[in-house]
Assembly symmetry: none
Homo-oligomer: 371 residues x 2
DNA sequence: ATGTAGTGTGAATCAATAA
DNA sequence: TTTATTGATTCACACTACA
């Protein structure tokens, strides 16, 4: 648990360890621009007044720990600004952050993130499939929490594994509302007395989705409010490097024990569906160079309305319009843009075949990449 | 439309009318402590860059109206503070407010509400059953908006019709996430040219739920950003009094016309919130996220002839074939299609168990209504 | 070197309603 | 039955030329 690797060209990072200390001081001690993703579950600043009882008179074990107490909105805002600034310094230019919270704190946190220069990409609703009911019937069942996903700045080229998430969602685009159960059963860590080890342990499924969505294997993930280490456990399983910061010795101990038992999934399983965008670019001219299409050959538009001739340099000419497969397609259709690969077809055995098929042939010949 | 009743012991209110003017000035002209509920749909402060096109090259008709433009966060915050203060003055001591927004503005609005002394009761997620997709595949589908429900102050004895909401929700406590379709079809108001009359018309079902939950018949409901008057229409139907404020003559005109046609207790309108139930769709990836199956684990086909490994994103890999449980099953069997849920099994206690069993477990846990 | 503006290529959609 | 339309959107990126 105390392995500290040194990355090529970067200052030493305490990878795969739990740092003891206050999160702001600990973050300030780490090298700037070294972190790919931050996952933060800061204190919610709950303001509970008295005990809450269930209809059967049993007492609800609520969050009333000292670390969740702030004297005022101003004090909470100051704390929030400070840790968000420290976190932002640590992020690589293309790094990103996730913060989770409830209505008690998330609006203040979100506004502070915008003020600090973070660029919000989505807010995500974690819809709990098994929330605690509102026993008194005075409000709606508080059945969700909110996550904010933001990049370090507007210009950041953040990681988003679109296809992997689409795959996770049975082939349709993943939405901003996620239905996942809260952490219960044997996933919920208990102490010797059988009490829950941490009052707000997050489910691994939530972290799993966050990391599959916005990190790649080998990325460095920091959790400044580590608690019992759910972030670390999922990072380790998924082949990401983690750094945890936690000031309570008790939580650190539970987390250490937990992490020592986690094993990484094998490499093949960690591979994830990638998008076409990541596939090697094939210039249209290559189809001509390779003789898959001949200069002078005629292409037909998908809808059959237009024709164009292939020229030796990989451009098309049709109706006096010359240019790339995309340009000519767009002009003929009067559209702002056009994907020529799927627009143009050629004839083979009397059938219309899109030229994209030829591109796929070339790609298949190219070195088999793991992703 | 210009009936002005005088309530016992209260200054004259322009009940059931649309006030022409800037919302802050108009609110300041109304008597303090006279309003039961405020519903506010303020500008979202969207910051659009250029045009967005669908994959079929059609242009998305985005919200780019002048009323949604602010020069900076500071300008937006000032505006927000001002209208929230004016609104709070109007509320009765036990009055309440609803504000709707998206991630562009809702965090700033929520923080400003807390700073102004409002007491947040719930944040509610309006989960859209038919949102616009993310065409570029660069983020999650933005499939929800957030509402904040708050009382005038912490001590307020706010209205909450617990049993009515429970009845609306088939006998179980209403949760903080509401699934409702966006406003389309004949409910969506159009101008003579057939274009939408307002870019962001809210569905009546949403207002219906808000008013059933937090007002009583005869209550006075104020909407300072009236638009085409959905708040007024629902208030009238449900026997509440409304006051609208709207500065755009065009919207006022559409709203007047609309409201003149609305009749109280229109049965058809009351049925808006009821909808069909379907079996919730469970993506296979959720079994992986939730640890019911692990990446790298082997699945066997029902007939025992094929094997495949589970990957972290919920796809399978077997004999170099990658894809969904359905795709891989179909390929391996040489069949046009295959129901992966009943095709694939895993081993438990030496027995072959179809993965569909795990899906049934998840469905049983889901207490939320799909529609 | 470092940054910015301009240009060329090319990737990308779900659910509901209306026609 | 099939096809067309549409909705609160902070929705690309790599490369070159030039300051």
């Amino acid at each position: 648990m105390t392995t500290t690797k040194t990355k090529k060209g970067a200052a030493a990072l305490p990878l795969n360890t739990i740092v003891d200390g206050d999160c702001i001081e600990a973050m300030n001690a780490l090298p700037a621009g070294s972190i790919d993703l931050i996952f933060a579950d800061p204190p919610y600043n709950l303001q509970l007044k008295g005990d809450l009882h269930r209809p059967d008179n049993s007492r609800v074990d609520a969050v009333d720990d000292a670390w969740d107490q702030f004297s005022s909105f101003a004090a909470y805002d100051r704390f929030t600004q400070d840790w968000l600034a420290a976190a932002r310094r640590l992020l690589k230019p293309n790094g990103a952050i996730w913060v989770i919270g409830s209505y008690h704190n998330i609006f203040r946190v979100g506004a502070a993130m915008q003020n600090a220069g973070y660029w919000i990409l989505n807010d995500v609703v974690w819809r709990k499939s098994n929330p605690m009911p509102n026993f008194r019937g005075k409000r709606l069942t508080n059945a969700h929490e909110t996550l904010i996903w933001a990049s370090k700045e507007e210009a950041s080229k953040y990681t988003f594994n679109y296809e992997a998430l689409k795959a996770l969602n049975e082939g349709v685009q993943m939405r901003s509302d996620w239905v996942l159960p809260i952490c219960t059963g044997h996933e919920r860590l208990k102490n010797e007395a059988g009490e829950k080890a941490h009052p707000t342990q997050k489910p691994m499924s939530l972290l799993h989705r966050v990391m599959v969505a916005t990190t790649n294997p080998g990325d460095v993930v920091l959790d400044p409010f580590f608690g019992t280490g759910t972030t670390g456990a999922v990072a380790k399983m998924l082949g990401r490097e983690y750094i945890g910061i936690e000031r309570e010795a008790n939580y650190r101990e539970v987390a250490e024990k937990r992490l020592s038992k986690v094993r990484k999934f094998d490499k093949e399983a960690l591979q994830v569906t990638t998008s076409k965008r990541a596939e090697p670019r094939v210039p249209f001219g290559q189809l001509v160079e390779r003789g898959m299409l001949n200069p002078g050959e005629e292409l037909l538009s998908m809808n059959g309305r237009h024709k164009a001739k292939v020229r030796a340099d990989g451009t098309l000419i049709g109706d006096d319009i010359k240019g790339s497969i995309h340009q000519v397609g767009a002009k003929l259709e009067g559209a702002p843009s056009c994907n020529g690969w799927t627009y143009w077809c050629f004839k083979r055995d009397g059938k219309m075949v899109p030229i994209d098929l030829l591109r796929q042939q070339i790609r298949a010949e190219m070195t088999d990449r793991p992703n």
